[in-house]
Assembly symmetry: C2
């Protein structure tokens, strides 16, 4: 919930002049997103009666500029394959990525819809379908980006937080070390891979009612196991505010996914482990953010312990069936 | 820069159902405004091809609910008299003001335009005209609200900050006390009065280029000397980032204002004093906010000392001519 970069009028007008979008008639900082600065831009084409909406994003320090061509090409690829996602707008010079206020900046198409503060099973069903379609659409995307938020990245995060993890909960460093060692030793090697979103939380999925209208925020997208995206969604969508696991949501999410892209036996079997890994990933990033939080920052750090509870759940499940899908339905 | 109240999907849909605006298709928190929570709402009427934009405001603690009927009626009155300002949208039941998430909430019309991060003399000229038109339009507005941010209010703010004012600058409490005593003894009694905006800073005035497209944020509006609004604008628009007073901006602002509503001799003579009062008002509110700032808050407090420098300027001017207007042009 922040605008990190204030754009002056002169800078905005000079930026606008590089596009064929008409006159910029409104530009309001959006109080969502913790990584980048986003403006909701309205531009009026000559002769049009109503302005069109766009999102203007300035990439702040957490996104590496060298990764931007991958992210933007991915959005264009997915949009061209029928996935509803923000599409980069090209300027008169053909470029989509340029500089604004000394930061990489891009204008993308605006998506209608609102993210669910509290998701319904119908929304989880739509999510399963959309995620599978995104994985299928990404199959022939030719660029690559390693997942820097997988095992090696987790180790680095843990090292950066180990000495102070006890401030959040006594013994937390040991718990995390044991888990990470286990996951490192047992992490799958040969599940189907492809381009994944890797951060598909509810605030990155827009709905109109129960109908999914688009996926946003692909700035963790990378190559990894496709089933890992499902594991992220299990963590991000299927736990209720009281901490309980909603198996109805998980089952419908997994079933709808498997209708479009069936899971093989190895993926099915790996679900609990992938879910543990994904819970650990968000636990570690939240822990890091909490311990390294600047009190003057405009974003409140999220509670890492929510994901400790989810990790415990996945450690204790009897097997992949605990997520509501049986092997036959998985398609294996 | 904050969203204080997160609105759930259910609450938003229930709220939407009370209006004839069509389907709410987007609702994004706006990272501007420090007093209230604002969402940019888009709603699609049946059969329309593009959504219409609105602002949904939830009133947070700084606005007194008993003042809201005054503010909303004022917006309607001004809009009906040709002033471009947000206009409250009425629901099916005829009401504009209702409750959302336990807070007073209203939907108003959306104004195109952007506020100037750094104003031009042309914008100051347009501001002078718009302010005078607003004062003229408000002349037959029948509701009343006392200015709780005038002398008595300043005294309360000073009392609440006196003990710790030295943390901001040694001797500040004495400086402020002396100034407030002087202003109390010399404050004008019988200047032309009417409804004023009282907080017309650049972020409350929208432009398309140099053309003024609307005035917003009337939540300090009240009855007071009309010329006090001009004094606020002198402080808010005519000082450059380096602290220097831009007499070109002041002159054009005052001249354009006086073309529509000429100042009488008493108003002209009172300008330096009103400007001192207005500088003290923002100095005191910023001082209070800085001293009572919650580190967990999402808004960074502004620097009170900016207005100490402006106060010093007004204390030292030779007379009202220092603002670029001579008595003849004032219309007196």
């Amino acid at each position: 919930m922040a605008v990190y970069t204030e754009v002056s009028d002169e800078d905005l007008q000079a930026f606008a002049a590089q596009y064929d979008l008409g006159e910029f008639v409104s530009c309001k900082g959006i109080a969502e997103g913790v990584e980048n600065t986003n403006y909701l831009l309205q531009a009026l084409q000559d002769g049009a009666t109503a302005p069109d909406s766009y999102i203007l994003t300035l990439y702040e320090k957490r996104v590496s500029p060298e990764d931007l061509p991958f992210f933007l090409a991915l959005l264009e690829h997915l949009a061209a394959h029928g996935i509803s996602c923000p599409t980069p707008i090209h300027g008169r010079d053909g470029a989509a990525l340029r500089q604004l206020c000394g930061k990489p900046a891009v204008i993308v198409s605006f998506l209608s819809g609102m993210w669910p503060k509290r998701s319904t099973p119908q929304q989880c069903a739509a999510l399963g379908t959309a995620l599978a379609k995104m994985h299928v659409a990404g199959a022939d995307f030719e660029m690559h980006r390693a997942n820097d938020m997988s095992i090696d990245g987790w180790r680095k995060l843990l090292e950066a937080s180990r000495a102070r993890a006890h401030e959040i909960r006594p013994g937390l460093a040991d718990t995390l070390t044991t888990e990470l060692d286990y996951l490192s030793a047992n992490w799958p090697k040969d599940l189907p891979k492809g381009v994944i979103h890797a951060d598909l939380f509810p605030d990155n999925v827009f709905f109109l009612g129960d109908e999914l209208s688009g996926l946003i925020d692909f700035y963790f997208a990378c190559d990894d196991f496709l089933a890992y995206d499902l594991a992220v969604c299990l963590n991000a969508w299927c736990f209720e505010p009281d901490g309980s696991f909603n198996i109805t949501k998980a089952r419908t999410l997994l079933r709808r996914y498997a209708e479009i892209r069936p899971l093989n036996a190895a993926e099915f079997a790996a679900l609990p482990l992938l879910a543990r890994g994904s819970a650990l990933r968000f636990l570690l990033t939240r822990l890091y953010d909490k311990l390294h939080h600047d009190d003057g920052a405009l974003v409140r750090p999220k509670d890492p312990l929510e994901f400790l509870a989810r990790l415990r759940f996945h450690q204790q499940v009897s097997g992949p069936g605990a997520y509501g899908l049986d092997e036959a339905l998985a398609g294996a």
